[in-house]
Point group: C2
Chain length 288, copies 2
């Protein structure tokens, strides 16, 4: 059975998006993916290349262009654009026949099989997501959202979605009102909204397995008394998430998973360059 993957990026994140997808495809052989991209600003030429890349890997690409007029009532926030709503309101734009989809951030490597997560029983929850409980940031976020009585603060970078229930439940007006009221407190807007409004309707999943924060190898290892060593991570972790401001596709990154990321990036660049070469070859043949 095909697995549906949701991504919502702008042009700046197309490069890491292709790396994430390449790692997903390579480490899930014999699987078929339908990739849904919800976006409003990516030029056609770039969309064509992404389509060629995904199709060339044997998977399906669905572009879901958003008319930002749809969000004319939505408040904006500092330097964030209205794209921050795409993730939480994706069920409004996705085809009605889809009943589940796995949202993945672009700053991710998928290094093992993803089907077990995809098939998780959602038991009436809106989402499944990992609570980054290993890290001190959790306490900070709990205090920041004290009025909402959060039991956990979930990371929204890996989000399994219960689409029929989301269509019934999520009210865009509630979200817009929340942003109006709390805009001064929002640091990571869509993640904050998700936690404040829907925390109790999120099923927790294992962060080490499905949303491993790549910055914290030493902390995970220490807190597990050495159990979560590199062998453990490579054997059990499915999703490595390069959280934080320093990104492995930028200069001066360093970290435990740097070489692994860069190797996938190289393989991805080679695949994309081959497509571009083929396209230019075809274009020059046409011109002759």
């Amino acid at each position: 059975m095909k697995m549906n993957i949701l991504v919502t990026v702008d042009s700046n994140y197309l490069h890491p998006l292709t790396v994430m997808l390449k790692s997903l495809f390579m480490n899930n052989p014999n699987e078929q993916f339908s990739i849904y991209l919800v976006q409003s600003s990516i030029p056609d030429q770039q969309l064509e290349l992404l389509d060629a890349f995904i199709s060339g890997e044997g998977h399906e690409f669905h572009n879901i262009p958003i008319d930002d007029q749809l969000f004319s009532d939505a408040p904006t926030l500092m330097h964030y654009t209205k794209t921050m709503y795409y993730r939480l309101l994706a069920h409004k734009f996705l085809p009605q026949h889809l009943d589940r989809i796995l949202y993945l951030d672009p700053d991710i490597l998928v290094i093992n099989r993803i089907r077990e997560l995809y098939e998780l029983d959602l038991e009436g929850y809106l989402f499944a997501a990992a609570d980054h409980r290993t890290m001190p940031i959790k306490e900070i976020n709990k205090i920041r959202f004290n009025p909402f009585d959060l039991e956990a603060y979930y990371n929204s970078g890996v989000l399994l979605m219960n689409l029929p229930l989301l269509r019934e439940t999520i009210d865009e007006k509630e979200i817009f009102d929340f942003v109006e009221k709390y805009h001064s407190k929002l640091i990571m807007p869509d993640q904050d909204i998700m936690n404040a409004l829907y925390s109790k309707k999120i099923k927790g999943i294992d962060e080490v397995k499905y949303n491993y924060d790549a910055r914290y190898y030493n902390i995970y290892k220490l807190k597990s008394s050495g159990l979560f060593d590199m062998d453990y991570v490579m054997n059990h972790t499915v999703i490595l998430h390069f959280c934080g401001k320093k990104k492995p596709w930028k200069k001066n990154y360093s970290g435990k998973f740097h070489s692994l990321y860069k190797h996938y990036e190289k393989i991805t660049n080679d695949a994309v360059a081959a497509l571009e070469g083929a396209k230019m070859g075809a274009a020059s043949e046409k011109a002759n």
Copy 2:
């Protein structure tokens, strides 16, 4: 055209050998390899599994068992066994029709295309090998082998062999006499022999590209004024060599390429486990 690869390991190194081969196969798609294993002590069952692994990946396996009686005149050295001669005398055991072969140590990851190295013009040299000139060990080895007037000290872990010339030139008696005479000075026996006796007949190749010492990321980067960063290595380095006593398949290893190695090790283990599972399935079917 098929590429010939030479390996000489005992049972203790079969595991890293399979990881090395898997990385070679994965990063050289559309290539055909013939793997020649020169050995004397590996049990048949392990050889069958290695054969199944290599065949399953679409390549050829040739076992070249050595009768150690052939080395009855050869001196042994401390804890080294006579297997130390297999690499330098491999041309005696390999099929006569082969005209070149690339020897690879098992503590290697091949992360890019290897054909350019394989097709290097050997111009009358016996071997092509990398001089580890970035590292201070070179000076030590030059002093140690002062009587031989070495211009360079080559690493024997990656060795392209000119087989017709080796058959004409290399005299096993010269090697045995050398070992008798200098046994107290030999630290890495086959590498020392190669350098002392044949240094001037070795064509130097770029160590960063073809024999990158995985311990020294920071030194390579520093000495190149930042040029050899992780992007450069992933784009240009073909052979990552995990030199030294600490090996990435052992506990408590750490280093810049740890996650990359462990990821390949995991993929390799999965492939081997699938073969073992299939074999057990076949055996139990046969029993029924």
